[in-house]
Amino acid sequence: MTQEVAGRVVTGRVVTTRRAVNRNQPSIWAFRGALSRRAQIGIGVGTSVALLLIWEAVARSGLVNTTFLPSPTTVLGALLTMIQKQSLLWHAGVSTLRVWIAFTLAAVMAIPIGIMMSSYRVVGAALEPIIDFIRYLPVPALVPLSIIWFGVGENTKLYLLWLGTFFQLVLLVADDMRRVPQEYIEIAHTLGANTRQTLRDVAFRAMLPGLVDNLRITLGWCWTYLIIAEIVAADSGIGFVIWTARRYMKTPEVMAGVVVIGVIGLVTDQLLRALHRRAFRYL
C-alpha cells in the first residue's frame, strides 16, 4: 500500500498537466515525511482510545480474570471513590510536592556545578569520576543506606529523589555547556566581555534551551524514584496508596494510582513543552 501511494505521488509530480490530485497531499507514509499538528494529535488520541476500548472489551469478555486485569471503567470508578473517600488528591499533592522539592534542590545544585565542570577543566577532572560512579548506582540499592542515615522520615524520601536526579542532571548540564559553540564565547571576549559576563550573557543563554529540555526529562525520572521511596517508607503519597492497595489485592485501586501518576506526568510534561516553545521562539 505504501508503495502504491508513493508511486501515485511521483507520477503526479512528473505529469504536471494532469489533475492536481495528490500533488499537495503526500502520503502520510512518506519516509520521514511531514504530518500536520492536528493530524498528530488526532492520531495520538485515536490510538489511546482504541487501546482503552480493546482493554475494556477484553476485561468484559471474561477471557481474563478481572482481579488481575480490571476494565478501564472499573479503574475509573475506583479512582473516583478514592478521590472521595481516601483523599487521593491530597496524596497526589504530597507526592508532587516531594518531587518538586527534591528536584528543585537537585537542579539548584546541578546547574552551577555542571556549568563549572565544563567551564573549568580542573573542576570537571575532579568531579567527573565520582559523579560517574554514583550515577551508575541504582537508587533502590541505596535505600537501606539512606534509611540508616536519615531514618524513615521525609528526609529519606527527599534524599533518594535527590540522589536519583542530581547525578544524572549534573552531567547533562555539563554537556549542555560543553556544546555551546566556542565561537559564541570568543565573540563575547572580542566584544570586551569578562569571564563572568561571558558566562551570564552568552554561554548561559546559549545553553538554556538544552538545559530546560534536560530539566523536563529529569523531572520525569524523579517520579520513578518517588514511587520507590514511598513504597519503602511512607504513610502518605501516591506510592503509599498503591502499595497499600496491593496488600489487599485491590487491583483497580493500584491501577488508579498508576493512572494518577501518568496524568500528572503527562500534564507537567506538556506544560513544560509549551513553556519551552514560548520561551525559545527563536529556535
Binding site: 559553540p181 565561537e183 559564541y184 570568543e186 565573540i187 571576549h189 572580542t190 566584544l191 570586551g192 566581555a193 559576563q197 550573557d201 552568552v202 543563554r205 546559549a206 538554556l208 525559545f280 521562539r281 527563536y282 529556535l283
Partner: protein, 262 residues
Amino acid sequence: MTQAYLEFHGVTKRFGDLDVVAQPFDIAVARNEFVVFLGPSGCGKTTLMRMIGGLDTPSGGEISLEGTPVGGPDHRRGMVFQSYSSFPWLTVAENVLFGMRYRKDLTEREKLARRDHYLDLVGLYEFSNAYPNKVSGGMRQRVAIARTLAAGSDVMLMDEPFGALDAQRREKLQVELRAIQRRDAKTIVFVTHDVEEAVFLADRVIVFSKRPARIMADIDITERLGAERPLDLRDTPEFFQLRTAVLRLLREAAGDEAGDEK
C-alpha cells in the same frame, strides 16, 4: 604603506611539538589596509589571525597595534566567524546592539544611534526584529559585520566569513564588504583559501605555504587592479591574469595535492 599600524615582530607559534610557522613572522599592515591571508586549509593562517585578536598567544615574538603590544581580546579587534557568527536568541537589532554592551564610554542613546546606523549600512534595517534563524546565511554574516563595526573595532578579523554561502550571495557580500571597508576606513585581516575572493577583496594578498607556514608571496593587488572593486571587475583580463598567477602560487604553496583548491 609606510606607517606600520598592525605589526608582527618575529612571531612564532607551537602547539605542543607542532610548529605552526616555519620561521619567525614579520608582517606589517598599514592602517585601513585590507589584507587577505591566503593559504591551503590547515596551514596556520587562522591561528595567525586569532593571535591578532588575542584569542591565541604567540609562542615567541610580539604583535603590536599602533606600537602597543596586544594582549587579550577586546572590542578594538573584532571577530567575524564563518558559522555561529550571530547569537540566535537575539534579534538582528539586538545582535548589533550587543556589540556595544560592554562599552561604558557610550550612552544608551549613542548606542541606539550606532545600532541603527550600522543596521542601515549593511542593509538590514527592515529586518531589525527578525531572529537570525529567519534570515538568510548572508544576512547573518552581515549582522556579524554590523555588530563588529558597531562595537567600534579598528581591526576587523574575518575567518572565512563567506565560506558557507552560495556563490551569488558570496559575490554580493564581497562587493558590499569592500565598499564598507572603503567608506568606513577599516583595517581588515581576512582569512580564506578562495583565490578569487582573495584577489577581489584585498589591497594585499599574503600567500602562505602549507604547514609549517612560510610566506610564499606578498602581492600588492591595489597597485595592479586599483582600489575600486565593482562586481564586473571579475570579468576583466587583468583580474583573470592576476587570479591565475595567484592560483599558481597557491598550488606551489600547497605542494602536490593542490588540485582541489579553488
